[in-house]
């Protein structure tokens, strides 16, 4: 369309321009034939020159200029557009009033520009994406509390995160390009285990190595103990041959200790108000004379709650002590048969008081063992209280059974209660573990069995559970007759220091 218009315009211009000299020649010839006189002709010709020039040459010149301009303008515009393109302005060229061939060129050029612009903006957004991913990765690496560094094919450090820098006391500039075995020499018994593994395991496959408790010297010469993980990346396109992360164990231990201190402190500080709550409730229970039956019931519930709270605090404190390795054990010579018979009266009252049947099965004789009587009393109490909690009144039965098993004494608490799902059994003796299905029925803290295990293990013994759902559970512990404690640590029980769970009185039974 544009192309035809352009042709028409051009043809018209040529026609006009070529017509002008033809008209001039025709005019001269006409004048010459009319006059015939040379002189007059010359004079006449002279008199004709100006008009002819004016009529013929001036429009021709003007038209030429116009024509040239007509040709030049789109070329100039194209030139400007190409220059804009060259300068990197890939937006739509917007060449105005383009027609004909120039129009076609402009359109083509415009398409090129649009395509370029699209390609370039796609590339730009990809670059932005890469940049933002890189920033994210850098953020993640630097916010990690574990040290991370990467090695190139020669084993030189090419990436080192903030935690790595803080843990080792070395700046990124200090380690960049350095051999890992020089600046990050993780050692186990003096051996450079990690770098040696990297060298020997290097191959076409990706591999992961773990090391526990490796020693690393900080820049100031102090030792740092860390868990290390290294990944061999043979196919990495960025030239990373291995990625290493290390976890500071000292920090973990400090955190762990802080937590324990807090628990111990909390348990201690909470005891004072609890003393008053329990004490004044006790005064009320003993002194109040005009309490209704309901009042008495409320009071008893408050006392139960306060006692449970006290038990929880003591358990928490015990756990804190277990983890500090400070649980108070005082092993002494213990006549186990005597011990069981003496305490079974308390257990029997505990069980029958809750309307369950109690049975004691003991052999005729048992050797004297070396043990902490209050610790064992606590374990058996825990097991019996658990058995009561998981049996029903009237039908429930709790059996305390003791027998000799080779060089060990075996004590079991057997019940005919709800039993424990087999999936829960492996977790029973871990801290704060409570069987999901039983949470509603019981009000335990999830600490009793954990503490029991700790006490039995302190005696060099072991404890376990067997159960069948709907039929009941058996908890058993065995402790060696010859205890592991040395004779020097053994107090002679003839001085008769009676210890309760959390106190002692000389020459006097506390319970």
């Amino acid at each position: 369309m544009q192309s035809t218009r352009f042709k028409r315009q051009t043809l018209a211009l040529f026609f006009i321009v070529s017509l002008v000299p033809a008209l001039v020649v025709a005019a001269i010839w006409y004048v010459d034939t009319q006059l015939g006189d040379t002189n007059s002709l010359i004079v006449d010709i002279h008199s004709f020159i100006l008009p002819v020039f004016l009529i013929g040459v001036v429009p021709a010149l003007l038209l030429s200029f116009a024509f040239a301009e007509l040709l030049a303008r789109p070329v100039r515009r194209l030139h400007a557009a190409v220059q804009r393109l060259a300068q990197g302005n890939y937006q739509k060229l917007d060449i105005p009033n383009s027609s004909g061939e120039f129009g076609e060129i402009a359109v083509a050029l415009d398409q090129v520009a649009t395509q370029l612009s699209q390609t370039i903006s796609a590339a730009a957004s990809e670059t932005a994406l890469i940049e933002s991913e890189r920033n994210k990765l850098r953020g993640v690496l630097n916010s990690m509390t574990d040290g991370v560094f990467a090695l190139d094919r020669d084993g030189r450090i090419i990436l080192f995160n903030k935690a790595a820098s803080e843990l080792t006391g070395r700046s990124i500039a200090e380690v960049a390009g350095q051999l890992a075995e020089k600046v990050m020499p993780f050692r186990q018994g003096g051996e450079l285990v990690m770098t040696r593994w990297l060298a020997t395991e290097a191959g076409p496959d990706q591999k992961i190595g773990h090391w526990r408790n490796l020693e690393l010297y900080r820049a100031n010469g102090e030792s740092l103990y860390v868990d290390v993980q290294a990944i061999l990346l043979p196919q990495d396109p960025n030239g990373i041959s291995a990625l290493v992360t290390f976890h500071d164990l000292t920090k973990t231990q400090q955190l762990e200790e802080m937590k324990i201190d807090f628990v111990a402190l909390a348990a201690h500080e909470l005891r004072t108000p609890l003393t008053e709550v329990k004490g004044y409730l006790d005064l009320l229970a003993h002194e109040a004379t005009r309490l209704s039956k309901a009042d008495r019931e409320f009071l008893n519930r408050a006392i139960d709650g306060a006692n449970q709270l006290g038990e929880l605090m003591n358990n928490l404190l015990n756990v804190a002590r277990i983890e500090h390795g400070e649980l108070n054990y005082h092993p002494g010579h213990l006549d186990y048969l005597d011990f069981i018979q003496e305490n079974s009266r308390v257990y029997e009252l505990l069980v029958t008081g809750k309307d369950r049947q109690f049975e004691l099965k003991i052999p005729a004789n048992l050797p004297t063992i070396t043990a902490d009587d209050s610790g064992l009393r606590e374990v058996i109490s825990n097991l019996i209280l658990n058995a009561i909690a998981h049996t029903a009144p009237q039908t429930g039965k709790v059996t305390l059974q003791v027998k000799r098993h080779r060089d060990e004494i075996e004590t079991s608490v057997i019940d005919n209660g709800t039993g424990i799902p087999s999936s829960a059994i492996p977790h029973l003796f871990t801290k704060f573990y409570r069987v999901e299905e039983m949470k509603a029925a019981t009000r335990g803290t999830g600490l009793g069995l954990y503490i029991s295990r700790s006490i039995i293990e302190a005696h060099g013994g072991h404890i376990w559970a067997e159960s069948e759902e709907g039929k009941g559970s058996t908890f058993t512990f065995r402790i060696p007759v010859r205890a592991l404690v040395t004779q020097a640590n053994v107090t002679d029980n003839t001085t008769k220091i009676t210890r309760g769970a959390h106190g002692w009185i000389k020459n006097n039974p506390l319970h």
Binding site: T272, E276, D282, G310, R321, G503, I505
Partner: protein, 125 residues
């Protein structure tokens, strides 16, 4: 009551000492108070008591210092007086062992109620 009748209660927390004293007095004991360690030592040395109930965390002098003063080498010894530590402070194994040579008992307050304390004291001999 086996002759045990007079008690010195060394405890800085009044609500707690009043709480125990009320029950002790209702059961026939005669109770005197000291509200800090220094006062406790002074009273213990002025008059004979059958029993001293001793807190540990106190101003002026701690219960441990009181125990050293009363039972240590320079102290009077008070052989006819029983001393029971009554505290909420959980001593570690070593500290408790050290106390055994000088004290007659160690009770965590939060683990007992006044009526149980009366029972424990009634069983002392």
């Amino acid at each position: 009551m086996a002759g045990l009748r007079t008690i010195l209660f060394i405890e800085d927390d009044k609500p707690i000492s009043e709480m125990y004293t009320r029950t002790l007095e209702r059961n026939g004991y005669v109770v005197d108070f000291a509200y800090n360690g220094a006062e406790g030592i002074q009273k213990a040395n002025q008059k004979h008591y059958d029993l001293i109930l001793l807190d540990i965390m106190m101003p002026e002098k701690s219960g441990i210092e009181v125990l050293q003063d009363l039972r240590g080498e320079d102290g009077l010894g008070h052989p006819d007086t029983k001393i029971i530590i009554l505290t909420n402070l959980a001593q570690d194994k070593t500290s408790q062992e050290a106390l055994k040579s000088q004290a007659d008992g160690y009770i965590i307050k939060a683990d007992i109620v006044p009526s149980q304390l009366v029972e424990i004291i009634g069983n002392l001999r």
